[in-house]
């Protein structure tokens, strides 16, 4: 079965469906979550509880004109939204959803994921650059400086996890954490790693919020100052693809956090590990993303960089050293 073409096709269809459904329905979740936090009821007109809303939004976006303004860099302008979407979908290939669900378990899947994550930053940069719009350029410059600043602590914490598991294969990392929550990297009991690893988890989570350009780190599309940032000139599905890419990046971030820190598909009490535990964990994390977005106001760009350079990087470095020391000593 492993080499059969059917396996590839089924995974392709499954991953595309997973990506599409998530990209569509996270928009709905986001709006419902925001509404609940602000004590409204959110979308409720289209379908039961507004569940047909993503469909309507999609149809509306597709029926609009794909406007290419004068003075934009035509090819790059058209390519950028697609480039935002491709890495997000490709990343799903290496995510181990469960013991036996996972398209490819590559040896360097962690590395691949972070390479792809940087690629989606390039999409933002290209989109902003090609638009030929002041707001868009400022926004993409901000996005790049922010992503660069947050990639460092993120990778440092990932190195810690990789040291603990001794592998860069996401599947191996998840397998290493099986057997109850005290084996998960965040609470890892053995050799006292739990002392610092929860800090690494928080650092990683903050970084993944920043990497996905989500509020309170949404400097790239600060509506109140930069109109819509790099998306200013995009209409129709160009905009739609950027939005879908953003939501998919959240899913990837949640999947990655789950796999690296929360034991992947492992049940907290070692009972019935399976893909449902993976899904429960990622949706709790995704809810936290939404929760955070509707709680905090946007930070300023220099505070954002301060947070990264002054707090997150020293903390993740210290954590790296302590973990290395613990591994060496025991």
């Amino acid at each position: 079965m492993d080499t059969s073409i059917w396996r590839a096709l089924i995974y392709l269809a499954g991953l595309l469906a997973f990506a599409g459904l998530n990209a569509a329905y996270l928009g709905w979740c986001e709006r419902k979550g925001a509404a609940r936090i602000q004590r409204r009821i959110g979308p409720c007109e289209a379908g039961w509880a507004g569940l047909a809303q993503p469909l309507c939004d999609g149809l509306k976006l597709m029926s609009k004109q794909l406007l290419v303004p004068e003075g934009v860099d035509g090819i790059i302008f058209r390519v950028a939204p697609v480039l935002a979407m491709i890495p997000a979908i490709t990343s799903l290939v290496v995510i181990p959803f469960s013991d036996n669900i996972g398209a490819r378990a590559m040896e360097l899947s962690v590395l691949l994921l972070f390479a792809l994550a940087s690629l989606s930053m390039i999409a933002v940069l290209l989109g902003g650059w090609a638009s030929g719009n002041k707001y868009a350029i400022i926004s993409s410059a901000r996005a790049v400086s922010q992503n660069l600043a947050y990639e460092i602590p993120m990778l440092l914490t990932v190195i810690t996890v990789v040291m603990l598991s001794g592998s860069m294969n996401l599947r191996e990392i998840a397998l290493d954490q099986q057997g109850g929550f005290w084996h998960w990297n965040i609470f890892r009991l053995e050799h006292g790693h739990f002392l610092t690893m929860w800090i690494a988890f928080i650092v990683f989570f903050i970084c993944s919020v920043a990497e996905t350009n989500r509020a309170p780190f949404d400097m790239a599309e600060a509506e109140s100052e930069l109109v819509a940032g790099f998306m200013t000139e995009y209409s129709s599905m160009g905009f739609g693809l950027f939005m879908m890419g953003e939501y998919l990046n959240i899913v990837i971030g949640a999947c990655l956090t789950t796999t690296l820190f929360l034991g992947g598909w492992d049940c907290p009490f070692g009972l019935t590990p399976g893909v449902w535990w993976f899904l429960i964990k990622i949706y709790i994390l995704i809810f936290t993303f939404i929760w955070i977005r509707w709680t905090y106001p946007r930070t300023q760009i220099y505070r954002l960089l301060n947070l990264s350079w002054k707090i997150l990087i020293p903390f993740s470095l210290a954590n790296l050293l302590i973990t290395a020391a613990l591994i060496k000593v025991f």
Partner: protein
Amino acid sequence: MNGYWSDIFTGSKSLVTGLLITAREFFKPVVTEQYPYEVPVMTPRFRGHIELIGNEETGQPNCVVCGMCQRACPSTCISLDGRKAEGGKGKVLTHYTLDFTKCSLCGLCVESCNFNALRFSKDYNLVSFDKNDFIMDMLKRLEEQNRCKQ
């Protein structure tokens, strides 16, 4: 390093406080009103356009056609007319029109009325494609209100 650790601690604490507040709000009941499905109850002092007050028993307008409201109106929205009452003293209202397109809801007409014949209505669903819909016949409105009462 001055204040570095305290910044981190107070900062984290305030972030957690914020999250807890939104989490609490998340489970509280909805405060918005779903307008077309839920109709708001207007407060007693809501100032809609004016309307005539009918007599409690007969339903006839309290108006004695003194014309004070007409004179008080700064935008000349009100026009009214009456005729001599049959067999009795005083006048009977024959028509009363409010040009709501010009009305600024100042309420001077209601204030000037000494016979308890005018009040603010509680109408707020005022939408139309036709300007003439806002030149309102108050007598007809009162008749309709009387019909609804019966």
